[in-house]
Homo-oligomer: 205 residues x 2
């Protein structure tokens, strides 16, 4: 069964070529200019060839973002070494903001755009190395175990989601309102720091 495997591999290869082309357009010219035709142009295929490898544009983008975000979650392995849960939390929060601002297109597609029912790839869920939510949740479990968390905060999922919301708000607002003139904006670093600080105060006894 030699050729069969080779074909499988080739198929996977062109899939990643498509994803790479999309990612580059994504990064250099923004989501708006990621079109099937332009992706095709880059890999010197006809636009319709892509449909042989991806159901439609949306699932192509979803797969791209999923993949890159999983990659990002790996960077948490370093942060996971920080012994103090509080320090670990604030480091994770700042790393998350950094990722969002460095990859605004990814972030927009993943967390700022409503998705139709959209079945997801659930593999990796719960694994802190692939699932940033699971990582956050773990930190909070540790924090609770250390006895330093407010006693009222019993529902760890609720706490995780609220904290995620807050940090997400910083990124999301920055991405969406970058050129706004209505408000006299402070630097994103200052806002991030204050939000992280307020999260700590909200969690600890």
């Amino acid at each position: 069964m030699g050729p069969r495997e080779r074909r499988e591999r080739e198929r996977e290869e062109i899939r990643t070529r498509i994803l790479d082309a999309a990612r580059e357009l994504f990064a250099t010219e923004g989501v708006e200019s990621v079109t099937m035709r332009r992706i095709a142009e880059r890999i010197e295929y006809s636009p319709t060839a892509i449909y042989f490898h991806f159901r439609d544009k949306e699932s192509l983008l979803a797969e791209l973002c999923d993949c890159d975000f999983r990659n990002f979650a790996h960077t948490f392995t370093v942060i996971a070494q920080i012994p103090d849960p509080v320090e670990r939390l604030s480091a994770a929060g700042k790393a998350y903001v950094e990722f969002g601002l460095k990859n605004p297109s990814h972030y927009r597609v993943m967390f700022m755009t409503p998705k139709p029912p959209h079945e997801q790839d659930m593999s990796g869920k719960g694994n802190p190395e692939e699932d940033a939510y699971a990582f956050l949740r773990n930190v909070l479990v540790d924090l609770q175990a250390s006895g330093r968390m407010r006693d009222e905060l019993t529902d760890i999922d609720l706490v995780s989601q609220s904290i995620w919301s807050m940090i997400h708000g910083v990124i999301s607002l920055e991405i969406a309102k970058c050129n706004d003139q209505w408000v006299d904006w402070r630097t994103i670093e200052a806002r991030t720091d204050l939000v992280v600080d307020m999260i700590e105060r909200g969690l600890l006894k």
Copy 2:
């Protein structure tokens, strides 16, 4: 100068007819299905007629959202009566979330979609009855004046922006991730309450 004024009035009338049509499509079928052609259909005009009244689709949507958001800001006049700044703040936060969730299309266009340079209508800026940010800022000034705010928090704009970010995060995540299966979501009310609670804790001595 009778006819001149009449024409002016008629022009304004059809402008609002366009905006109303857009708003209805907006609300009933989502932003995606708001197209120039469908708006035109509703008011029984040709698609190009709209361009006589609005520069392009984007400014049409921007004007619609600006207008409705200003209207919303009016609801703060009631909340402004609440004497205690802390209570006022949490009431405002919850009202803001409510608006966002009741008008997700508006919210998306206004705060979840990056805008090109896009010159804005700055009239009304700073007036708490039209400018929700100014309202928030005023509450925080009052809170500071009451002496109950942490002394480290000197930059009121920084604080305002951070708090706005946090609340925005709740709305934004809810709108974007409504059908997500990855996370075992708690209710939006619970998340809102916890975030508001943590904001209070982060602000007060």
